[in-house]
Assembly symmetry: C2
Homo-oligomer: 277 residues x 2
Amino acid sequence: MAYELLKKHKSFDGETIFCEHESASTKTKMKFSAFLPKDLKEIKNAIIWLSGLTCNEENFITKSGVQRCLADSDTMIICPDTSPRGLSLPKESESYDFGTGAGFYVNATTEGYKGHYKMYDYISKDLINILRNDFGVSSFSITGHSMGGHGALILGLREKGTFKTISAFSPIVNPVVSPWGQKALKGYLGPDTDTWKQYDACELVGSGNTSNSKILIDQGLDDEFYEKELLTQNFEKICKSSSQSLLVNYREGYDHSYYFISSFIKNHIDYHLENFN
Amino acid sequence: MAYELLKKHKSFDGETIFCEHESASTKTKMKFSAFLPKDLKEIKNAIIWLSGLTCNEENFITKSGVQRCLADSDTMIICPDTSPRGLSLPKESESYDFGTGAGFYVNATTEGYKGHYKMYDYISKDLINILRNDFGVSSFSITGHSMGGHGALILGLREKGTFKTISAFSPIVNPVVSPWGQKALKGYLGPDTDTWKQYDACELVGSGNTSNSKILIDQGLDDEFYEKELLTQNFEKICKSSSQSLLVNYREGYDHSYYFISSFIKNHIDYHLENFN
């Protein structure tokens, strides 16, 4: 087994587990949580959940209520941490939106970060390998929130041989033009903005990296980051002009919090489950 | 309005709110959270949730997934903090199981504590008044976890004119003989063990303080506190000999955590809802 079980809690007849493993991509130990519905032998599919800024492997699995949505399915969910930790790189712990807890799901190329901040490879290689080899899973889909919604979109669009379906809550759809995105992409990739585009969902769809299945997005209209950081409508426009099937549910009165996510997580889980079956 | 709204999050078409108010019983500010299903004008009933040691007003409403269970009902849930805070009383902050976060739902009589640690009155008077006057609620039930399960049992049994139904997760049913209970009852009430009995569910049922409705309890069998602190079977025995209707669901493999609570919260909510209607 390529991972160490740190703790487990029986949940909805299945198990919520917390694990740690050595990552070949980040060259650090990495943690993840997962929910396994009751009969592990029958688990065929996995949904990868990518969390947002400041989160670790615990927030979503504790707050979303996702276990109830998967309890009777043949599908697990796995929730990795959002960055390597404890490396003491320059600027790694100075702000909430760069470094620790803010890996942005890219492969860093800048000094210091290029040795460890390989979150794109960590998700698309290490985590997929664990799911295949240790959990016996053969089909995958991907979703996430905010920075993790961005991660789900770029990983889903680029790795379309791996991920059957893509969904996102409040994703950062156009990081090359949003303040969070610009700070992170410059820090991890350097000043050449051309290199940023491979990690921007709008740029990817615009250059023909489309998904064969509909992309599902939920976006709260009282989300304080909607207009400045998330830019959902940029993605709507580019999907329309690129014939990428997309459903955006704008949700009146909802904010950026886990209270929003928990309200609509069942819709997203059901969407992925339908497409596995 | 007798409370101040600190924050609110739209959830399941309703609202998860966090509030603060001046308590006549504790003579401090007290906080609570609540979930209000979508049409506040139609809310008729309230379930009071009492949390366990170390918790505050946030744990349950964030981790339990209760919103999904109440979204389509005419019933709100309210989750008070577990003690007064910030008083700097002797020993108030030295341990996790006494003082701050550990009010035990009693009216303290010991020096220092007697001026503020009136959690029994806080729940049965202050909180009920807010529910009646500010939320327009006329029917009540009560539930909770561990120390809060103890609180739900003693308040429900003693205030039977107020609470229609009682349920509990992993309650401390017999605090006069459990280490957590003995420490707290001695600290809040002094060494005379006779005064402790009014706050002990087994003693209450044994002396005729029974409820007209069935009491519902869920207890995990992998709960590390089950045998030493919770003593569920003592309550089963006394209920049987006192003709108190009781259903205890022993749950194989479940522990003392919120993963356990979230797995079975819907059963408890449904039980209370059935009895309101």
